[in-house]
């Protein structure tokens, strides 16, 4: 599994708006570069990122070659109940990576 860094506060007050930050190692080869020998380097990018909380999708992104290598994404959600965030990155050449984080809400 490639290295992924997800940051979710371990604890939050009910109703608080919290920030979620994710970093995923990936080259994000855009597909329009050439080697010094002139060969095209095929596209190899992450095309989609999804965050679910207790099973329900709360955030999704479509990514294109203009996203920098090792994609960083940060977004917000409202802490409603304790539970588990699940993160999924999907990309070219069958790339799939997952991570998860738990939060306690009181």
């Amino acid at each position: 599994m490639p290295a992924a860094l997800v940051n979710v506060p371990a604890k939050a007050k009910r109703g608080a708006i919290i920030e979620i930050k994710t970093l995923m190692s990936h080259v994000m080869e855009p597909g329009y570069r050439h080697t010094a020998a002139g060969d095209a380097i095929p596209r190899d990018i992450i095309t989609s990122f999804t965050c679910r909380f207790n099973g329900a999708e709360i955030f999704r992104a479509d990514l294109y070659p203009a996203i920098a290598a090792n994609p960083f994404l940060s977004f917000f959600t409202t802490a409603s109940e304790s539970g588990r965030f699940e993160f999924e990155w999907i990309g070219d050449n069958g790339f799939v990576a997952n991570a998860s984080a738990v939060i306690t809400v009181d």
Binding site: K21, L23, A69, N70, F72
Partner: protein
């Protein structure tokens, strides 16, 4: 960008100033100080610093058994945050067996070979960058002491010689830019003082990690000189000189640089 053009003209002009000499201790500034506020923020926040992906990778490697000895780094060294504290700040260090300095990557590979009985990692390999990133992180905030060892005096001197020696089609010495013109810009980039405080770094240009050696090779290619080979004795001397020139400055590895 007339400013960049001007800088180049100043640098390449016939009336190049004679080397003004070393930067005063009080005037030394890490590459960090030249970063935009956005890039500083990227480096400062471990949950946003992309170099932390490499550190994470290195932590896994640290505790992975390898080689004929079937030992992990951690089996001998314990937790990296205790055993590797301050280590990167004093590398390159004198190696008694070879009677010469070795840099941190070479030191890791010595352990690969001698203590794990495994093949050494290639220069700039993901593994070597990841392990040196974990080790270097344990020196964050600590002062650089590399070069203190008197047995290294001749290597430091050789490094300084290389630093002030003109080279390449552009006939420029490292010192022309980094001692004499560090406050100027080149095609939009701050020239900076070439302080090696943050290595290995995540370079925005590379969109990935790289060692100090890779960074130096970039500058050598930049002046259209034949870049020194990875791990060449002169390369290690140059690294050592840069570290000794930064004596007392604080480490900020793994850093982000443009």
């Amino acid at each position: 960008m007339p400013r960049a053009l001007l800088a180049v003209m100043v640098l390449l002009g016939a009336a190049l100033p004679v080397l003004a000499g070393e930067i005063a201790v009080s005037a030394r500034r890490s590459g960090y100080d030249f970063l935009s506020s956005d890039t500083k923020a990227m480096q400062d926040d471990d949950t946003a610093n992309p170099a932390m992906l490499s550190v994470l990778d290195g932590e896994t490697l640290w505790s992975t058994k390898a080689g004929a000895a079937n030992k992990s780094c951690g089996d001998c060294h314990g937790a990296a945050d205790a055993s590797m504290k301050g280590v990167a700040a004093r590398y390159p260090a004198f190696n008694a067996a070879s009677g010469a300095p070795v840099d941190l990557g070479q030191r890791v590979n010595l352990c690969r070979r001698q203590h794990q009985q495994a093949d050494p990692f290639a220069p700039e390999s993901r593994e070597l960058l990841a392990l040196t990133a974990v080790i270097a992180k344990q020196s964050r905030g600590m002062p650089i002491t590399a070069g203190d060892d008197p047995r290294l005096a001749s290597a430091v001197a050789r490094g300084r010689e290389l630093f002030v020696q003109r080279q390449g089609q552009l006939n420029l010495a490292c010192a022309n830019c980094h001692d004499d013109n560090w406050d100027k810009h080149l095609a939009g980039s701050a020239i900076t003082q070439a302080q090696p405080t943050g290595y290995p770094i995540y370079r925005l240009e590379w969109q990935g990690m790289g060692s100090l050696q890779r960074r130096l090779r970039g500058c050598m290619t930049g002046v259209r000189a034949q870049a020194l080979d990875f791990d060449a004795p002169d390369m290690i001397s140059l690294e050592l000189y840069l570290m000794s020139r930064a004596h007392g400055m604080t480490m900020d590895a793994p850093a982000v640089r443009p």
